[in-house]
C-alpha cells in the first residue's frame, strides 16, 4: 500500500498527488513513468512521473480524470492509500546519459500540452539543475486549464504560454508559438514535446520543416508495463516497438502517429460503456436495458 501524502486540484479534473514510494523515488529519472492501481479491482494505469524526491521518498503524479479508473484514483484523498505503485518504468530521457558539458552547449525547447505539461517538468528541472538552458512552451485550452506554470517558470530560461482562447499568454497553438520563436531567430538543437497525441503529431510535422531533432513521450495503452503484453506496440521507423520497455520516448519524426492514435482507441467502446454505467450508478439509476450485466 502506498500512502497519498498530499493531493492538490491543479485545474478542472486535474489533480497532483504526492505518493510515498521510497523505492520508486530513489530510482526515478526524468522521462520515466509508473503504473498505478487504486484498489483490488482497479485497472493498472500508466502515469508519467511529474516530480520525485529521493530524500522524502516521494513521487508526484498528475492525473486527469478521463474514465472510470482515473476517477477512482482521483477520488482518493491525502492520508488514504493506493493499492499499487510500480516503477519507475520505461527508459529515462536520453539526455540523462549524455556528458553534461555536451548538453550545456545545446539549447532545448520543451513543449507541454495540457496534462502533458506535468512530465515535462522533471526533465526541465533536471536540465536546469545541470546548467542547461531550456525554453518552455506550455499550451492549454484556456487560463483555468494551465498547470505547472509557476514551477516551470522557476526552472526554465523563458516560459511561453499559449491558450486556445487567448485567456492567458498568446492565443493559438503551441506549434505556432514554436515557429514564431524559430523565425524570430532563436536557435534550438533539440525539441521535446509531451501532450495529446495529436499535438505531438503536429509538433513533429512542424519541427521536421526546420530539421529540429524532436523527442515525444507516448502514452500508449499498457497492462503490465514491463514488456509482457505488447498492448503498447507502436511503429517507429517502420519497426514495431514496445513503448513500455523501449520507450516511452521516441524520435518524433519516425513515429507513426496515426496508428498510435488509432491504437489508443482499442478499448474506447468498453471504457465509454463502463463510464456510462458508472454515471448511472452514481445518479442512483438502475439500468433497465441490461448494460450493467
Amino acid at each position: 500500500m502506498y500512502k497519498i501524502l498530499e493531493k492538490k486540484l491543479l485545474a478542472e479534473n486535474i489533480y497532483a498527488m504526492r505518493i510515498e514510494a521510497p523505492r520508486v523515488a530513489h530510482a526515478a529519472l526524468p522521462g520515466q513513468f509508473v503504473i498505478v492501481r487504486a484498489d483490488a479491482t482497479g485497472e493498472r494505469v500508466p502515469l508519467t512521473i511529474a516530480d520525485f524526491d529521493p530524500n522524502e521518498g516521494s513521487v508526484t503524479i498528475v492525473i486527469q480524470t478521463l474514465g472510470v479508473s482515473t476517477r477512482k484514483i482521483c477520488a482518493l484523498e491525502a492520508g488514504e492509500y493506493l493499492s499499487d505503485f510500480a516503477g519507475p518504468l520505461g527508459r529515462p530521457s536520453e539526455f540523462v546519459h549524455e556528458p553534461i558539458e555536451e548538453l550545456q552547449k545545446r539549447r532545448f525547447v520543451f513543449i507541454g500540452g495540457g496534462v502533458g505539461t506535468a512530465p515535462v517538468y522533471p526533465q526541465v528541472k533536471w536540465l536546469h539543475e545541470h546548467g542547461v538552458a531550456v525554453d518552455v512552451i506550455i499550451g492549454a485550452k484556456n487560463r483555468d486549464m494551465l498547470i505547472y506554470t509557476e514551477e516551470m517558470a522557476r526552472v526554465c530560461n523563458t516560459l511561453h504560454i499559449t491558450t486556445d482562447d487567448g485567456s492567458a499568454g498568446s492565443k493559438g497553438l503551441v506549434t505556432a508559438k514554436l515557429e514564431e520563436l524559430i523565425t524570430a531567430g532563436n536557435h534550438y538543437d533539440e525539441c521535446v514535446a509531451i501532450g495529446p497525441m495529436i499535438m505531438m503529431k503536429f509538433v513533429a510535422l512542424t519541427t521536421l520543416k526546420y530539421a529540429l531533432k524532436t523527442t515525444v513521450s507516448l502514452n500508449a495503452l499498457m497492462v503490465d508495463g514491463t514488456g509482457m503484453c505488447g498492448a503498447c506496440r507502436v511503429t517507429v521507423d517502420g519497426k514495431t516497438r514496445f513503448t513500455c520497455v523501449e520507450g516511452p520516448e521516441f524520435d518524433a519524426h519516425k513515429v507513426d502517429f496515426d496508428e498510435a492514435m488509432r491504437r489508443q482507441g482499442m478499448y474506447r467502446s468498453q471504457e465509454q460503456r463502463a463510464a456510462a454505467i458508472e454515471a448511472e450508478r452514481e445518479a442512483g439509476h438502475k439500468c433497465r436495458i441490461g448494460l450493467d450485466k
Binding site: 523505492r23 520508486v24 530510482a27 520515466q32 492501481r37 479491482t41 482497479g42 485497472e43 493498472r44 472510470v68 479508473s69 477512482k72 493499492s83 499499487d84 505503485f85 510500480a86 516503477g87 519507475p88 518504468l89 497492462v223 503490465d224 514491463t226 514488456g227 509482457m228 503484453c229 505488447g230 498492448a231 506496440r233 507502436v234 511503429t235 514495431t240 520497455v245 496508428e259 488509432r262 491504437r263 482507441g265 482499442m266 478499448y267 468498453q270 471504457e271 463502463a274 450493467d292 450485466k293
Partner: protein
C-alpha cells in the same frame, strides 16, 4: 490382475456448460477413485516413469503409499522432490513424461499418474501439517529471489526451510507469476490451489515484495551491495511475447496471448466487478498450437466468441498437452491445422476484419525432429475474424540481463547458467524459463530447487 482394471475415468464438468464458465474443468479423483487407480500400478522394478520425470519423483512409492491408504506418507514422498504437486498434477504434460513411459501404456492405458499426484497434492493442501521449517532458526543470511513463479517459489521454499532469510521480488501486483497471469482459472484454480501453495511458502518465513521490477526499481547490484543480500536467484520467466512480423499485425484487435490472458486472468477482465477491459469480438482466431494457444482460445470461447485455432503443422505436432486439445475440441473449438497466416486484414477504421492464410504440407524433419511445414502453392484463402490472438511463444525479458554487469545471455536472450543454476556472475543463480526459454512448470520448479542447493553450497563455502 491389477492391470486388468481399466484406467479410472476422471469426472469433468459437462463441456457445453463449462464452455460458458471459468470453473475448473476437471473435478479430479476422490479417495476411492484414486486408490482404485493406484491399484493399477505394477510397481515395476525398473520404474520408467521415474526416469521420465524431469525431477525424478518417486512415483511408484507415492502410488503404493496411497494404495495402502497412507496419505501422509504419499505426500511426504512427493514433497522430497516436488513442492507444487497440486499444480504439476494439473499442468504437467504427463503424456510425454511419466505417463508416456508407463509400461501399461504399451498395450493399454497408462496409470493416471498426474491425476493421482493432483489428488495427493490437494489432500495435503486440505490437511496441512505444521512445517518443521517454521521453527528452523534463521541463519542470518539473506537471499533475494527475483520472480514469484514456479522457479522462484521452489527455490525460496527450500532456502527458507534451511534457515535462510528469503525475500521474493515480484514485478506485478500479485505473486504467482505465470500461475496467476498465464494459466486460466478453469485449468488451475487461483484461490483454492495457487493462493494456498503460496500461503505455504509464506508460512516458511519467505517475505514477498510486489511491484518491484528488478532492472528498474532496483538492480541486482543494489540488492547485493546496498540491501545486504548475499546471493540472488533469477527466476524471472519468459515473459516477452513474439509476433509474426506480418502485415496488419498492429491493427486494432490483434493482441498477444499474454495480453489477452493477463487481462482475463490477472486482471479478472471477465468479471464485471473489475475495471480492466477486454475485447473479445464475435470471431476470434488464435495463432499457435501450444498450451498458451489453447488457454487463449478456450478463454475467448468462454467469453462468448466463436473461437478457432490456426496452426501451421498437423494435429500430431501440436505442442499443447493432449488433455487440453481434447478439452478444447469438446468445448467446440474449431481447429484449422496446416494453416499459416500471411497477413491480417483490416477494415477502413483500422480494425481486424480477417486473416489471410496459406495451406501448408509437411516436408522433411527439421533440427527439432518435427517435419517442417511448407507452403502449398496457390493455396491462399481468408478467414473472417475480428480478433486475432498471437500465441507464438515467448522469450525472456532482457531487463535483468541488460542491467547486470557480467550476467551473460545466449543468442536467444536466455541467461547462461550451468546445471546447478550458476550464472556467469558470482553469487547470481538462475533457473526456469529465464534460462531455458518457455518450458514447463515442473522444469522451472526443478531448476529452482537445484539452484537452492547451489546457493546453500555457495554461501557455506563463503562462510
Amino acid at each position: 490382475m491389477a492391470n486388468k482394471i481399466p484406467r479410472v475415468p476422471v469426472r469433468e464438468q459437462d463441456p457445453a456448460i463449462r464452455a460458458t464458465n471459468f470453473e475448473e474443468v476437471c473435478y479430479g479423483y476422490n479417495l476411492e477413485e484414486a486408490r482404485l487407480e493406484a491399484s493399477r500400478c505394477l510397481d515395476c522394478k525398473n520404474p520408467r516413469c521415474v526416469a521420465a520425470c524431469p525431477v525424478g519423483l518417486q512415483i511408484p512409492r507415492f502410488i503404493a503409499a496411497l494404495h495402502a491408504g497412507d496419505l501422509p506418507l504419499a505426500a511426504e514422498v512427493i514433497a522430497a522432490d516436488s513442492s507444487l504437486p497440486s499444480i504439476c498434477g494439473r499442468v504437467c504434460p504427463q503424456e510425454s513424461q511419466c505417463e508416456g513411459a508407463c509400461i501399461l501404456g504399451i498395450k493399454g492405458e497408462p496409470v493416471a499418474i498426474g491425476k493421482i499426484e493432483r489428488f495427493i497434492g490437494d489432500w495435503k493442501l486440505e490437511n496441512p501439517t505444521a512445517e518443521a521449517a517454521a521453527t528452523t532458526p534463521r541463519n542470518g543470511h539473506k537471499v533475494a529471489v527475483i520472480g514469484s513463479g514456479p522457479a522462484g517459489l521452489a527455490c525460496a521454499s527450500d532456502l527458507a526451510k534451511w534457515g535462510y532469510e528469503v525475500t521474493i521480488f515480484e514485478a506485478l501486483h500479485q505473486v504467482g507469476g505465470v500461475l496467476v497471469y498465464g494459466i486460466p482459472e478453469f485449468r488451475l484454480p487461483k484461490e483454492r490451489i495457487v493462493a494456498r501453495e503460496i500461503g505455504n511458502v509464506e508460512r516458511l518465513g519467505v517475505k514477498f515484495e510486489t511491484n518491484v521490477i528488478v532492472g528498474r526499481t532496483v538492480t541486482i547490484d543494489s540488492l547485493l551491495d546496498e540491501e545486504g543480500f548475499e546471493a540472488v536467484f533469477v527466476g524471472s520467466g519468459a515473459g516477452l511475447p513474439r509476433f509474426m512480423g506480418i502485415e496488419g499485425e498492429n491493427l486494432n484487435g490483434v493482441v498477444s496471448a499474454n495480453e489477452f490472458l493477463t487481462r482475463a486472468n490477472l486482471m479478472h477482465a471477465y468479471d464485471a466487478n473489475y475495471d480492466t477491459p477486454i475485447y473479445v469480438g464475435k470471431r476470434v482466431v488464435v495463432v499457435g498450437g501450444g498450451n498458451v494457444a489453447m488457454d487463449a482460445v478456450r478463454t475467448a470461447k468462454r467469453l462468448g466468441a466463436e473461437a478457432t485455432i490456426v496452426y501451421r503443422r498437423s494435429e500430431k505436432e501440436l505442442p499443447a498437452r493432449v488433455e487440453e486439445v481434447h478439452h478444447a475440441k469438446e468445448e467446440g473449438i474449431e481447429f484449422r491445422m496446416l494453416t499459416n497466416p500471411v497477413a491480417i486484414l483490416g477494415n477502413e477504421q483500422g480494425w481486424v476484419a480477417g486473416i489471410r492464410c496459406v495451406e501448408m504440407e509437411l516436408g522433411e524433419p527439421d533440427e527439432s525432429g518435427r517435419r517442417s511445414p511448407v507452403v502449398k502453392a496457390g493455396s491462399e484463402f481468408e478467414i473472417e475474424a475480428d480478433v486475432v490472438i498471437m500465441a507464438l511463444g515467448t522469450s525472456p525479458n532482457p531487463l535483468i540481463a541488460s542491467t547486470t554487469a557480467g550476467l551473460e545471455t545466449n543468442r536467444r536472450g536466455c541467461i547462461t547458467a550451468d546445471e546447478q543454476g550458476q550464472t556467469t556472475r558470482e553469487g547470481v543463480f538462475a533457473g526456469g524459463d529465464a534460462v531455458t526459454g518457455a518450458a514447463t512448470v515442473i522444469l522451472a520448479m526443478g531448476a529452482g530447487r537445484k539452484a537452492a542447493k547451489a546457493i546453500d553450497a555457495y554461501l557455506k563455502s563463503k562462510a
